[in-house]
Symmetry: C2
Subunit: 193 residues, 2 copies
């Protein structure tokens, strides 16, 4: 992709993000995305043929961010500390007014739209795999109880994060960063030998 094409793509994604956060994915038309991006339909359709294409692209950008966060965490020598770091990043993301509405839109859409559900499912699998790697490493290093089922434990931690995100949806005034201590306690007490 040329630098211009890459800029164009980012411009469209940023415009779509603003539209989705404002009116919801479902209520936004491709026409509105074009208008927000200040581009002709022809230019937009060259990059994205549908709203589904846009949300798939957003998810892969989000995935790249998540992978970068895990890479940072994996560099820590202690798996428990790494998990606590990832958790605090997730809690900040859930709280971020620039991220949360789009995340909720994506979740709502996944519940109605199998193509979006597939994107969310793939991302979930990658997150579980990254956590699993951390948990297994911690078990090998004696930092995490080797008697725990590592996959179930990883999935329980992902579930905790997903559930706190749902709590933010239900109670938008919640400051999810206020859960940092509690989540650290869950991680440390549940996992340590």
């Amino acid at each position: 992709m040329t630098a211009l094409a890459d800029d164009r793509r980012k411009q469209i994604l940023a415009a779509a993000e603003r539209c989705f956060a404002r009116h919801g994915f479902h209520q936004t038309s491709m026409q509105e995305v074009c208008k927000e991006a200040e581009l002709s339909p022809g230019s937009v359709y060259r990059y994205f043929r549908s709203k589904d294409d846009i949300i798939v692209a957003m998810a892969s950008e989000h995935r790249a961010n998540t992978q970068a966060q895990f890479a940072q965490a994996l560099a820590l020598p202690n798996a428990l500390e790494a998990l606590v770091l990832v958790a605090s990043q997730v809690l900040r993301q859930i709280n971020d007014p620039a991220c949360a509405p789009l995340h909720f839109e994506c979740t709502a859409e996944a519940m109605r739209n199998p193509r979006v559900a597939e994107v969310v499912r793939r991302e979930d699998e990658e997150i579980v795999s990254a956590l699993l790697e951390l948990v297994r490493r911690g078990q090998a290093a004696g930092q995490i109880d080797p008697a725990l089922d590592p996959r179930r434990a990883s999935e329980a931690l992902v579930a905790l994060a997903d559930g706190l995100s749902w709590r933010k949806f239900l109670q938008p005034q919640t400051d999810t960063t206020g859960y940092e201590d509690t989540v650290r306690q869950v991680i440390e007490r549940f996992l340590r030998p």
Copy 2:
């Protein structure tokens, strides 16, 4: 309400439940509910004026069930055992093919429909309150670490259950009763003194 009216109401709710599980809340019309219930629109509208009214009634039935489960748990002398019992009931419910599709429908609808969101929010608040009572009782009895923030701890447990329910949606082949051991470990290790 007379016995006949109560039967009618239940008949309509059961029919609506089948329709929602089959085609989704959003795709179901009141006409289909009438047909499924084998009642005239006039009879159905006497009890429920809209699909929203039906989902509100379903939620209050569900709430009554949840309260009965908590009452059973509150009768146990040990708060940790009570929490483990509630968790295993929740995991069975998430797994139940007769409950899960309707629960997912209700969640999806809550993300688009403020009136349904309000119903889900009220139910969530009641569940958090019931757990909070259990956690505080456990702290007073020395079964749960008194240093934990009881509200945050209760909300984290609800989040874990909500997140496992979301996992069942994403990965429908998951047997959530298989998480029973892991969830028991989270509850016991996180909460005990």
